[in-house]
């Protein structure tokens, strides 16, 4: 027992923590024995030091270290062959069974491009995987020399087939990267380290804030991005869902494969960032450096790098086809068409989830949505008869009696005057179309948002700290084609926000309103998924209040705060034109704040705390500290919203909802 000093007082916590250390002695078991054996041989010339054993294998030496565990070269005495053994770190209870199950599933899988697993067993508390010893290079080392596109296609094609075979068997790799692809001396490519990267603990949060003290570790941090760390995978290859601690599936591997393929083709990685936080931001903001090149492959890679997995190819098949297309003598064009077909087929297979939008697959043939060009007439202020005709067409649009007529006039206007009638007028017409399409893309909107407010859980069904204020929010799917079209129009409106204001008052007013509404809709498109976000179910609170105040909170807030700040800017732009828009923007703003509080209020209380009143109270205090600031901010905004609605005589759904939310 650790001696305690009664005078410790506030450092008691430190005492407790120190008392549990040294940590993970057992993870040094094999290392310790190997080092001990080596030193004894050196120091005492001891001939009779027994070999270090894992299972029935004699360990020779360590050949790799990773966050998941260390790899050793070993000898199988019975079969007289050299093997590789991966000894996994001990996970939390339950994790071991899962690892065993997955490793056994992998052992059953026989595919030329997947490493052969000989045996799965336990060594003390830890799982080991004995597998074929592959003499060869990792893909990363292989890339150290210049390679032709054909070579890259061949190697990556094999790796893609290996991944696909595993996916078919229900396995997810979780940590695919060039270091986990081995090119044997025989040229055969094997994917290694399947399914072992599941975190043995709640994922480490992505720190938004770099400590200044870490400045000297910068160079090191950069190289660390390719190493499996305390995060759920290897930062440079991690998909958004991994940064967010959400569940992973085959499409997570599709993302990692796309990063790898990109890296092979472009000799650089797709997302910028010298540390994990920057990288996570690039991935979550989808800031991909464009990949040059002909044919279907760059497009496919970009689709694979989408933040939302729904927009990634649903399986490895398109990659296998596209990579094979390039190695044959078929013209690339034909390969591209074949892929377009298979992507469409996949979209159907995926059961309504459109893996790749039709417009994505065909947009090579079509011009992208018309980009903005300043028109000479408007910028130079030159009067000409064409301007009068445009003004007339615009007046007809503005005076149209209903939405159908407005849409017709907007189309007619754009057909004749899109590039000649002036930027502000164009914005008005684009906004008319965008707004109409946006509304049509949702079958049952709630105050203009495509969401469902679900019933508030009852106290006994949902034992929680002090109850919750509203139920969870579910996102209703918008029609993907309609909403994509709508946003394309609305983006144009946003881009034209700095055009010269029109002279005619009616146009000026309509343009100001259209621009602001476009900002609201563009932000809405991001707000809807944000509102549906729940505290990731994978996070467990087994570490009780400590975990709540650190890992879970930080990780979730990383996403919410970043998205929220962007959205708040969008809604802020909507303010200052009319009471109605002010109220709408304020209501949205309140929702943004609630996105930072209500998911926590709805997070289930850890089972371990349910029966312990004291711990539960501490947990609830910690929870309140997180929930209260954004809740209060939301209340302030709702109060302002209510006042503004009353002043301006606004009785929209948004106004009513602001009122109802007050004091909630």
């Amino acid at each position: 027992m650790v001696p305690t000093d009664p005078a410790d007082g506030p450092t008691g916590l430190v005492n407790d923590a120190l008392g549990t250390l040294p940590p993970e002695e057992e993870s040094y078991g094999v290392e310790d024995q190997l080092l001990r054996r080596k030193l004894k041989r050196q120091m005492f010339a001891a001939a009779s030091v027994p070999p270090v054993k894992i299972g029935r294998y004699d360990v020779l030496e360590g050949i790799g270290r990773g966050a998941m565990g260390n790899v050793y070269a070993a000898v199988d005495g019975e079969l007289d062959r050299k093997i590789a053994i991966k000894l996994l770190r001990a996970g939390r209870p339950g994790g071991r069974e899962r690892m065993l199950r997955e490793a056994r599933a992998l052992a059953k899988l026989s595919h030329p491009n997947v490493v052969t697993v000989h045996e799965v067993g336990t060594h003390g508390e830890r799982v080991f995987v004995a597998m074929e010893f592959i003499a060869g290079n990792t893909l990363r080392a292989w890339l150290g020399q210049p390679r032709t596109r054909e070579e890259v296609r061949e190697v990556l094609g094999q790796a893609a087939r290996g991944l696909h075979a595993a996916h078919q068997a229900g396995l997810v790799h979780r940590d695919f990267k060039p270091d986990n692809v081995i090119i044997g001396q025989d040229g055969r490519v094997r994917v290694v380290d399947f399914g072992l990267a599941k975190p043995s603990q709640p994922a480490e949060p992505v720190a938004l804030v770099e400590t200044p003290n870490d400045a000297n570790g910068g160079a090191e941090a950069a190289t660390d991005l390719t190493r499996t760390g305390q995060l759920v995978g290897t930062p440079a290859y991690m998909a958004a869902e991994q940064f967010l601690g959400e569940a992973v599936d085959a499409r997570t591997d599709v993302f990692a494969f796309s990063v790898t393929l990109y890296e092979c083709l472009a000799n650089t990685r797709p997302f910028a960032g010298t540390n994990t936080a920057e990288l996570a931001k690039s991935v979550l903001d989808e800031q991909v450096r464009a990949l040059e090149g002909e044919g279907a492959l760059p497009k496919l890679v970009h689709a694979g790098l989408s933040r939302d997995r729904e927009r990634r190819p649903a399986s490895m098949l398109p990659f296998i086809e596209a990579l094979a297309a390039g190695t044959s003598s078929r013209p690339a064009r034909r390969g591209a068409r074949r892929w377009v077909f298979s992507a469409a087929a996949l979209a159907v297979v995926a059961g309504g989830t459109v893996a790749l939008r039709e417009s994505d697959a065909t947009s090579t043939a079509q011009p992208s949505p018309p980009r903005v060009q300043a028109t000479a007439a408007a910028s130079a202020g030159v009067k000409d008869p064409a301007d009068d005709r445009a003004a007339e067409a615009m007046a007809t649009l503005l005076e149209a009696p209903d939405e159908a007529a407005r849409v017709e006039h907007a189309k007619a206007y754009l057909e004749s005057f899109a590039d000649t009638g002036g930027d502000a007028r164009r914005a008005i017409a684009e906004s008319t179309l965008g707004e109409s399409l946006w509304r049509a893309s949702c079958d049952r909107p709630t105050a203009g948002l495509c969401i469902d407010l679900q019933a508030k859980p009852t106290a006994d069904a949902y034992p929680h700290c002090d109850g919750t204020r509203r139920g969870p929010i579910a996102q209703r799917p918008r029609d993907p084609a309609l909403s994509a079209d709508a946003l394309a129009h609305l983006q144009i409106v946003a881009e034209l926000a700095h055009a010269t204001p029109p002279e005619r008052e009616a146009e000026r007013d309509a343009w100001a309103g259209a621009t602001r509404l476009a900002h609201v809709r563009i932000a809405d498109a991001e707000l809807e998924p944000l509102l549906a976000l729940a505290v990731p179910p994978d996070l467990d609170f087994q570490d009780e209040t400590a975990a709540l105040s650190s890992a879970a909170v930080r990780m979730f807030l990383t996403r919410v705060t970043r998205d929220a700040q962007r959205l708040l800017k969008g809604y802020k732009r909507a303010k200052g034109h009319s009471a109605e828009l002010d109220v709408l923007a304020a209501f949205r703003t309140g929702l943004v704040f609630e996105a930072g509080s209500e998911p926590f209020a709805l997070a289930p209380i850890p089972a371990t705390l349910v029966d312990d009143a004291e711990k539960r109270a501490a947990y609830c205090d910690a929870l309140d500290a997180v929930i209260e600031p954004p809740r209060q901010a939301a209340q302030k905004v709702y109060a302002w919203c209510d006042t503004r609605a009353a002043e301006g005589g606004v009785d929209s759904e948004a106004a009513q909802r602001c009122r109802n939310a007050l004091g909630r």
């Binding site: 923590a17 940590p23 310790d32 930080r554 901010a633």
Partner: protein, 199 residues
């Protein structure tokens, strides 16, 4: 069972088997001592420590604890290791932390976030304080034994243990405080609410 002192004497007199037994007894603790203090391989440091026992014939006279003697050598080996990495050769372990000396992130494996926090905190306090705390809690050595390791009065060691804990608590709060920085980001969103208030 032979005492450590007997084994050391026998080893010093050329009995390798005695040396092996002594090595087996203390290998783990010595390895552990270095693990949270250097990145990378600790082979040489462990070996130098044991060889040091063999060479420093006259220091251990069978008085006091053998472990104090062993850790005293280990601490010197550590100091020499870091001096070798610095040009100015002056490293005061009473005020300099290993992190200041450029030790990278903790290489010691820790499964839980709090443990990593603790290891990181330990590396941020002066190296002597770090060593004192680790020996006191992990081995555990008594204050008297620790006094022998560092050649300090027992009263001073007691004071340093308390001081080290306070420093550690501060460092942990600082390292762990990144979460709060984020929370303040959330509250800074409140600014917006203020801006939208009617003039």
């Amino acid at each position: 069972m032979e005492s450590d002192a007997d084994l050391l004497r026998a080893w010093q007199d050329g009995d390798a088997a005695a040396g092996e037994r002594l090595f087996d007894r203390h290998y783990r603790a010595v390895a552990r001592f270095f693990r949270n203090k250097v990145d990378g391989a600790i082979d040489d440091l462990v070996q130098t420590t044991f060889v040091g026992m063999l060479e420093a014939k006259d220091r251990f006279r069978g008085e006091g604890s053998f472990r104090s003697y062993a850790f005293g050598i280990a601490f010197n080996v550590l100091r020499t290791h870091y001096r070798g990495r610095r040009r100015d050769a002056q490293v005061d372990f009473a005020v300099t932390s290993l992190r200041d000396l450029g030790a990278g992130p903790a290489s010691m494996a820790a499964a839980k976030a709090e443990q990593r926090l603790l290891l990181e905190g330990l590396r941020r306090i002066p190296a002597e304080h770090q060593s004192i705390l680790e020996l006191y809690f992990w081995e555990p050595l008594t204050a008297g034994e620790i006094a022998a390791v560092f050649d300090l009065p027992v009263g001073t060691v007691r004071t340093r243990i308390r001081r080290a804990k306070a420093l550690l608590a501060e460092q942990i709060a600082e390292v762990g405080g990144q979460g709060e920085a984020l929370l303040s980001t959330t509250t800074s969103l409140e600014d917006w609410a203020r801006q939208v208030r009617p003039q």
